[in-house]
Amino acid sequence: MLELKNITKRFGSVLANDQINIKIEKGTIHAIVGENGAGKSTIMRIAYGFYNADSGEILINGNVRDIKTPHDAIALGIGMVHQHFMLVDTMTVVENIVLGKEPGSQTSLDLESAKQKIRKISEEFKLFVNPDAVIETLSVGQEQRVELLKALYRDAQLLILDEPTAVLTPQEVEEFFAILRSMREQGKTIVIITHKLDEVLAISDNVTVMRDGKVVGNVMTKETNAAQLAKMMVGREVLLRVEKPDANVGNSVLKVENLTVINHEQANALKSISLEVKAGEIVGIAGVEGNGQTELIEALSGLTPAANLSGKIVFNGQDITKLNPRKRKEYGIAHIPEDRHKRGLVLEFDLSENSILGVHYRPPAATSLGHVLLNDTAIQQRANQIIKDFDVRPPNSALAAKALSGGNQQKLIIGREFDLQPRLLLVSQPTRGVDIGAIEFIHRKLVELRDAGCAVLLVSAELEEVTALADRLLVLHEGEIAGEVDPKIATTEEIGLLMTGGR
């Protein structure tokens, strides 16, 4: 139905798409996989008219078409749902759906006819949402349905979905797949851009693998497996599940007692949480984002203002509830933040300067003149060591952090925190936006740290990651610990149920 022929696209000196050839058959679910920067989003945006290709052709049902803007794409029956939803929180579902294509005359908006059409589509594809609901009140899964309805309302025959399951619980993913299957039965064509190999294998009919701007494989899903796909994506054999020896658990390092945190909306983000992490173990916190994970890590690292916090945090027998982040670091608590751009790095600083963030005020960073002057040689030496040990590329400490890819930025942060030889590591979403090759590396490093006797508290929205790495798994739901499971034996359904609050 959609054929991309020899599409080439350059951005400045970067060749994002190099002679891309993809054939998407009508009535199939087609997955496009690749690491960050492989070019999969770019090629689909060209199909949707966001970008214009430098050369090549787009064929719809055998005819060459000129798609210059999303308008053209929509007119041809192509719809796109982005990873970050484009919805107006304060408007209702129907208002969002008709935005840009409002029915009625210039002066009066005819929402009734729109609602009728929406109800029809909802019936057809089992996408049930209340048209009068305000977006703010909807769950993420429901918001996604609204986005799908938006595309279907404009009579999309081909739907492009960018990382559609990034924010869904396992149950919601199942429901979502059911919707996709019914759409396929109704004759729609679906393209999914994703990096989640297990989902690709579960739902798609065909897979296109991209790497470094080129197509490296077009296979039928039933003829391949995860290992093969990963190998195509990365270019070498990839260990998909980290090898983890049994934990050698020691004394209690972190004890949280009845921790309650209010967020900036004065609501309880954490409701009297208690947990414990011992030396030599990884305690995982699973849960859909927004259930208190951020607040938990920030409270433990000292970033929460004291007024918003009540309860007790004990580290190696000492009450550290009132200590600031600097002191906690001195005690041996390291923190790999969930948002590396917001919290973890100063993007305009070079790697050397970023490598001392948090320890810049004491030796070895600051040595002369009563610990005031920075010791550039020592700083650079240490930075180079971290870059080497943690495979940061390109290995140039004079580069600005923003020049590095997400995975390499993350490796730098991890190297920086590991260099402190911490007793407790707080780590949140360690491999978000990171390529498969780097994910393997980071997971290995975390296990190594655990085996060296560090206590690790790992928060991750990626169920696979947290079940693979954790020795004990807690599930957070609406600020409370919904339950604890043994990650070796618990099923995805069990965990998924806890994630949505069922017990």
Partner: protein
């Protein structure tokens, strides 16, 4: 050319008179010195993410502080009085700069508004003090009584062969050069400067790194005010020897242009201040010795430079937006 005069002659006069030795250069550097101070002041504040529009008020407060101690402690020997007066100037500027810093740190109120308001407050209050408390009785000019002779800092003409002493270029110029070195070392070689720069670029990451952004704001504004305050040393201790009401020819505001042109870096500020100083000096002979070109041409030139520099920043922003689109 539009005005009808010979442009080559006009520019020749402009540059020639700015660079001629000894009088031209002397005056150029004299005009440059306060611009170095205010340029550094704005640059330092900017490195912490703050817009200090209050250099003008800060330098007035500093000048008055220096004048006050110069009059009150006139009996002290020079070796004590000069450094003390300099310290008073620096502290006066730091104090006036710290006020908007504290207001932002405590209440989040924007420093642009507060610094502008404080400019008016400073000039008015100090004008009052000058008129009613510190003026020599019978003096028609709005200025304070002169400071003691022991508070004077020497004119550079004393040390440079061939430079006449009537040129007001004074020791403050040396202090300005030292200030450039200090700001460079402070911002890039000390942990305090690291904390200020981190706060300016990413306060959330700075907080994660154990830095308190609110403290940095106050420190940066105080330091900024202190640098602006050094204009008081140049003006009062080295030139007029009195606090002269409204003495500043908008040096505080020109400092913003200097910082912008100099990319908020001490070396850049030095050259930018020099450039503006040359324009200031060169404008006078251009006015006097051509028939139609007036001193305003200098202001037009300054404005054009600022427009182009600001325009360049706009182009850079445009390019980086295109770059962001690329990555997606």
């Amino acid at each position: 050319m539009i005005v009808g005069d010979n442009p080559i002659k006009a520019y020749g006069l402009l540059i020639g008179s700015a660079l001629s030795y000894p009088v031209g250069i002397g005056y150029t550097l004299f005009y440059t010195t306060p611009l170095i101070f205010t340029g550094l002041a704005v640059a330092v504040a900017f490195r912490c993410g703050l817009l200090n529009i209050g250099a003008e008020g800060q330098l007035y407060v500093a000048a008055f502080a220096a004048t006050w101690i110069g009059i009150s402690a006139a009996k002290l020997p020079m070796i004590l009085l000069v450094p003390i007066a300099c310290i008073f100037a620096v502290l006066g500027g730091a104090f006036w700069g710290a006020i908007p810093g504290v207001l932002k740190a405590r209440f989040g109120s924007h420093e642009v508004i507060n610094t502008i308001m404080l400019n008016f407050i400073a000039i008015s209050i100090l004008g009052y003090f000058t008129q009613y408390h510190y003026k020599t009785p019978g003096d028609p000019i709005m200025q304070t009584a002169p400071i003691g002779a022991n508070a004077h800092i020497p004119r550079l003409g004393q040390f440079i062969p061939g430079m006449p002493e009537f040129i007001p270029l004074n020791f403050a110029f040396i202090l300005a050069l030292l200030a450039c070195v200090f700001v460079y070392v402070f911002l890039w070689k000390t942990k305090f400067g690291y904390e200020i720069r981190a706060t300016g670029l990413n306060p959330t990451a700075a907080e994660y790194g154990g830095i308190a952004p609110r403290k940095q704001i106050i420190v940066a504004m105080a330091l900024s005010g202190a640098l602006a305050g050094m204009v008081g040393i140049h003006e009062v201790l080295g030139y007029r020897y009195v606090y002269y009401d409204n003495f500043s020819a908008n040096v505080g505001f020109t400092g913003i242009a200097v910082a912008l042109l100099g990319r908020n870096h001490p070396v850049g500020v030095l050259f930018a201040a020099l450039f503006f100083g040359m324009l200031e000096r060169g404008g006078i002979p251009v006015d006097a010795f051509t028939e139609k070109v007036s001193k305003d041409i200098v202001d037009i030139l300054k404005a054009l430079v600022i427009l182009f520099v600001a325009g360049e920043a706009m182009f850079q922003m445009l390019f980086s937006k295109l770059g962001v689109m690329k990555e997606q």
